[in-house]
Point group: C2
Chain length 413, copies 2
């Protein structure tokens, strides 16, 4: 199996490095791979579950744009709905009627939703959620799970990151995932001061295995929040619509007061949403939160089309079935090479780790070898599966993974 070359990607990246900090920044920064320039940096085309880089190399994509792609790139139904709206109006002085339709649809769809609010970034709605919690309770403190990701606002970044100052965390209290005692301790040490608790439906950190909630964890959290008047906020940005169409909290059997959505909501069109309970609507209305593009109609039309299609085909079940098939095969293939591939989290957004090398370098190299053969694997972040991944894609991926194991075996011995 031939591995790809990256002449055009490398040349473009070198140009980028002249005029863009990091060349490519943030979660898409390919920095670990830069020394070798042996990596696809730029996409030229995308369709279904695949994208092609600027050197013409084809990839079965297991990152799905880090989540937004859920029905396949350039999905005809979603694109047609978006195009129809775009031709009428998109970013105008007033919102379009589709804003009301989308809010009504989300209120019907998401178990806890009595209202919906739209923005652009996932971080727009996680930040809004904590502001609503503070407005509603008159309290300041927000409890977060250590290692959770809620965007790039200074309060959401880990203390000590460049540009983040200690005052940004003056009212952030960290607890450990699945640790009810640490939450109870946070409550007793900050009695009457906690406005909200925010966490993802299950714990999916980078550089570590995903962890499902322990039996009864969310139910105990919900009971404590209700008792103490703490606003329970679910950050469903990453899991949303890949676990349960009614919200990931429904799947895990609890009822938050606020839930944050983004990523899979519109198949790549830029929109995020906060939904919440009737009791918080007045406070949501009091907090001033807005943006230049937040009323744009095209992404709302795309979201409505995406959600309807996801529901029609029962996409969470479908993606988890596809993911399970893929992962069972990969685990078996690893075993034939003498490796243990550990899979955690939902099969629709699995975290993978070859356990035989604690440094994770072997795992990283395996992902690199697979990528250079046409299966885009990311090493220290959960993957994403879409409804567009076919059985043929999965079979081809198994072959590539097999060859990639041979390559790392040769390298690591």
């Amino acid at each position: 199996m031939k591995t790809y070359t990256y002449k055009k990607s490398s040349a473009l990246f070198k140009r980028a490095a002249q005029v863009i900090p990091c060349g490519i920044y943030g979660h898409m920064s390919p920095s670990p791979y830069v020394p070798a320039m042996n990596y696809p940096f730029y996409a030229a085309r995308a369709k279904g579950a695949k994208f092609w880089d600027v050197d013409g190399n084809e990839y079965i994509d297991y990152m799905c744009a880090y989540g937004p792609m859920v029905l396949g790139y350039n999905h005809p139904g979603v694109d047609a709905a978006a195009q129809k709206q775009l031709k009428s109006c998109n970013c105008v002085t007033e919102p379009a009627p589709v804003m009301v339709e989308l809010a009504e649809y989300l209120v019907d769809l998401i178990e806890i939703a009595d209202w919906a609010f739209f923005a652009k970034n996932g971080g727009d709605v996680t930040s809004y959620a904590i502001m609503v919690a503070r407005a509603a309770t008159g309290r300041k403190k927000i409890v977060l799970v250590r290692g959770g990701y809620h965007g790039v606002a200074p309060w959401a970044q880990a203390p000590g990151h460049p540009g983040v100052i200690e005052e940004d965390h003056a009212n952030i209290v960290y607890v450990d995932w699945n640790d009810i005692e640490s939450f109870e301790r946070a409550i007793s040490e900050n009695r009457g001061q906690i406005a909200g608790f925010m966490a993802t439906p299950y714990h999916h950190p980078t550089f570590d295995d995903s962890a499902f909630p322990a039996e009864g964890y969310w139910q105990k959290i919900e009971a404590l929040c209700n008792k103490e008047g703490i606003v329970l906020i679910i950050d469903d940005v990453r899991c949303g619509f890949r676990i349960d169409m009614a919200g990931s909290a429904k799947y895990f059997g609890f009822k938050p007061d606020l839930a944050c959505y983004c990523k899979a909501i519109a198949n790549g069109y830029p929109i995020s949403a906060l939904v919440g309970t009737e009791a918080l609507k007045t406070y949501a209305a009091k907090v001033f939160h807005t943006g230049s593009y937040w009323f744009s109609a095209e992404p709302m039309a795309a979201a409505l089309a995406t959600l309807k299609e996801l529901k029609r085909i029962n996409a969470p079940a479908l993606m988890n079935k596809k993911g399970k098939k893929l992962l069972d095969g990969l685990v078996d293939i690893a075993r034939t090479h003498g490796y243990t591939l550990k899979v955690s989290g939902m099969p629709s957004m699995p975290y993978l780790r070859i356990t035989d090398d604690e440094s994770l370098m072997l795992h990283q190299d395996w992902c690199g070898e697979a990528t250079r053969r046409g299966a885009f694997f990311t090493s220290h972040h959960n993957w994403f599966v879409s409804t567009a991944h076919t059985d043929a894609d999965i079979k081809k991926t198994w072959n590539i993974a097999d060859d990639a194991f041979k390559a790392v075996k040769k390298q690591y011995g």
Copy 2:
């Protein structure tokens, strides 16, 4: 002249109020007009300088989506460039080459730009700018002008707003616009602690006249920032590309270290940008800042097409010429009715105020009367002019304004 009716808008807004906080929130919230339901709440279609509401009423639009619309709604050239990119790829696992082209174009275009960084909201880049300033200086405090607008992040909102807590302003120091002494005082009271000074190129608050920089103001600010090692940040989100294609700072004769763009940059496609000097590039690279849709290629292609077209037609000069013609006429018409219409700010984004009523209610009613006749005027926020406004639009606007003056004259006597 018949005034419009709003049966469908009102019905939709009532539905919206059930499922969306405020019905319509943020800067588009029509709350002052809600009691009468006598206002267009929803757009059905837009083209050129006009939009049509859901009741079929036509408006010459002087808000231009609050700024993003600069070449006219559904501009064929911009839309074609966006469509072409969309058909290849938009929101994918990797950025597209257009990201590099756009960064190179901005570096050539904006006087101070050695690099460019892209996000979605104007607020994404104002927040990033203060993080870069903090990372670069190792200092915490940010100096802002009282009454300036830099987005909805808690640090950017006025203290005391719902959801904003006092710690959000622990490191914000306010000075008055055009008041060098207040800036010098801020420096001496916070010696060695100020990371950055952020302001708009000229002061354009809501509910008050716009104010240009006093002679030598920016030059003194620049000199003080250089002397004290303070990062000078221009928030060019609203003024950008409506004053000078090379940046509004160029027009006012000073050189900031960082400049924030959004709104007019892509004719309504969702993108914002921070540009900066070489000296700050390393620090910009250190701050972690990213978002799910920040690498999407369609808005980047739209931005490139928009900027090239704005430059080709010298759009700032054109918009200011059109704006001046419109405003001179409106001032004359006001005079014939015995009113003084005060105009401030750039003609491409003017603030208007009928000075004969300090409560501003007469002014608000005049804007409402004009809107209900087909010229969309906003009362307490600056307007926006686009290159798509025609002489015929301006003449029709004068007739509408004349009739609106008659209506308020009748009401107020």
